[in-house]
Symmetry: C2
Subunit: 227 residues, 2 copies
C-alpha cells in the first residue's frame, strides 16, 4: 500500500530552483498495476525517486506500508527500500566494469544473502530476462537493450513487493519489450504492485490505471483497459 500526500519537490540549483513536483496526492493499493505518463520533464522520474525512497520530498509525505518514509533515518530508508522495492532506473544505473551477474547480485549483498544462493538467484533472474549467456560479460560490453534487461533482472532479484520501473522498455525492440511486459504482468498476477513510467501507449496498455503528470501536477488518474 502506497500513499503520497501533497508531495512537492523543488530542486535548488545555483541561483534558481526547479519545481519538479507541485503537490501530488494519490493512493496505490497492493497488487495494482499503474502506469505513470506525461511529457518529458513533467516530473515522472522525480516522483518515482520519492516513492522508491531514493530521495526526500521538499514537503508532503510518502507512506509505504504504513511507514512514513520521510521520518526515517538514511539507514532505515535504505533497508526499507532494499527489502520492499525493486527499482529499474531510466539510465539503468549499472556498474559498467562489473559483470551482469555481479550487478544483479548487488541487492542480495545488501540483504545479507550468502554467496552461493546469491549467485544462483542472480543467474535465475538473468534467465528470466533472457540474458543468462551474458552473465559473465561486463555491462559496458553489452548493448543498450541488454543493459536495460540486466537492470530489470537486478530489480526483480530480491523478490520485492513493489516494482518501480522508469521507462523499462525505452531501449528495447517490440519483441524484447513485450517479453519484459509479460514478466511484469506475471509478477503482478502473483500479487506484486507494479508502478511503471512509460511514454509508449502500448506499454501503458498493460496497466489497469494511468496517472498523467504535466508540469509537476496530476492532470488525470483513471482506470484503463486490461490487456
Amino acid at each position: 500500500m502506497l500513499e503520497v500526500n501533497e508531495l512537492t519537490k523543488t530542486y535548488q540549483l545555483d541561483g534558481f530552483s526547479v519545481e519538479a513536483l507541485r503537490g501530488i496526492t494519490f493512493t496505490i493499493k497492493e497488487g495494482e498495476f499503474v502506469a505513470i505518463m506525461g511529457p518529458s520533464g513533467s516530473g515522472k522520474s522525480t516522483l518515482m525517486n520519492l516513492i522508491g525512497c531514493l530521495d526526500r520530498p521538499t514537503s508532503g509525505s510518502v507512506i509505504l506500508d504504513g511507514q512514513e518514509t520521510s521520518k526515517l533515518k538514511d539507514n532505515q530508508l535504505a533497508s526499507v527500500r532494499n527489502l520492499k522495492v525493486g527499482f529499474v532506473f531510466q539510465n539503468y544505473n549499472l556498474l559498467s566494469r562489473t559483470t551482469a551477474l555481479k550487478n544483479v547480485e548487488l541487492p542480495l549483498i545488501y540483504a545479507g544473502i550468502g554467496s552461493g544462493s546469491r549467485t544462483e538467484r542472480a543467474f535465475e533472474a538473468l534467465k528470466i530476462v533472457g540474458l543468462e549467456e551474458r552473465a559473465g560479460h561486463r555491462s559496458n560490453q553489452l548493448s543498450g537493450g541488454q543493459q536495460q534487461r540486466v537492470a530489470i533482472a537486478r530489480a526483480l532479484v530480491n523478490d520485492p513487493s513493489i516494482i518501480l520501473a522508469d521507462e523499462p522498455t525505452g531501449s528495447l525492440d517490440s519483441k524484447s519489450g513485450t517479453e519484459i511486459m509479460n514478466i511484469l504482468k506475471l509478477l503482478n498476477d502473483q500479487g506484486r504492485t507494479i508502478i511503471l513510467v512509460t511514454h509508449e501507449e502500448y506499454i501503458a496498455g498493460y496497466a489497469r490505471r494511468a496517472i498523467r503528470l504535466l508540469d509537476g501536477l496530476v492532470t488525470s488518474d483513471k482506470r484503463v483497459g486490461k490487456k
Copy 2:
C-alpha cells in the same frame, strides 16, 4: 555518399569473442533518410559506430564521401568525423557536470570556432530542440528526455552533412518525439543524409528506406512509406 563493404566487427573479450557484425554491405546516397532496425543486440549501434568513424571494423571497409575511413590515421578520422558527421548516442554521452550549452559547444570547439559565435550557435541549436531555458543547467540536473534533446542539439550544431541518430527518441514522449522527427525531416528536406536507429515503427515511418539487422546480418533493405 556512404558505402559499407563486407563489414564485420568482432569484439574480443576476456577469453571469448562476440561477432556483432558478420558481413554488412550497402550504399546510402546523399540526401537519403534511412531507418536501421532490428532486435536488441542485433548490431545496430556497432554499425552506427563504424559508419560514424568512432570505431574501426575487424574487416571490410567504410567509404565516406570517397574516403576509405579504415585507412585514415586517428587524427584524420577525428577531423572527418567532426566536420561531416553529427552523432546522437544511444546513451547521450554528455558531460554530466557541464552545462547543456557547453555540451552543445563541444563540436564547435573541436572545429576551432571562436567563442562568441560558438555560444550563439550552440544557443540556437538548443532553441531548435526547445531547451533554450535550460542552457545554463548541468546535464545531471536535466530529465532523461531533456538530456536526449541536448545530445540531439550537439549533433546538429556543426551543420553536418550526415546525421547518425541512435534511438534519438527512446526517452521522449510522443509530442517531443514528433518534434524531433520533424526537425530531422526538415534537415533531410534541406539535403542532409539521415541514418536513424529505432525500434519504434512510427519513428521508422519518417524514413524512406529501412535496413533490418538480425544477429549481425542484413535481413531486408527496402523502400518504405513516406510520411
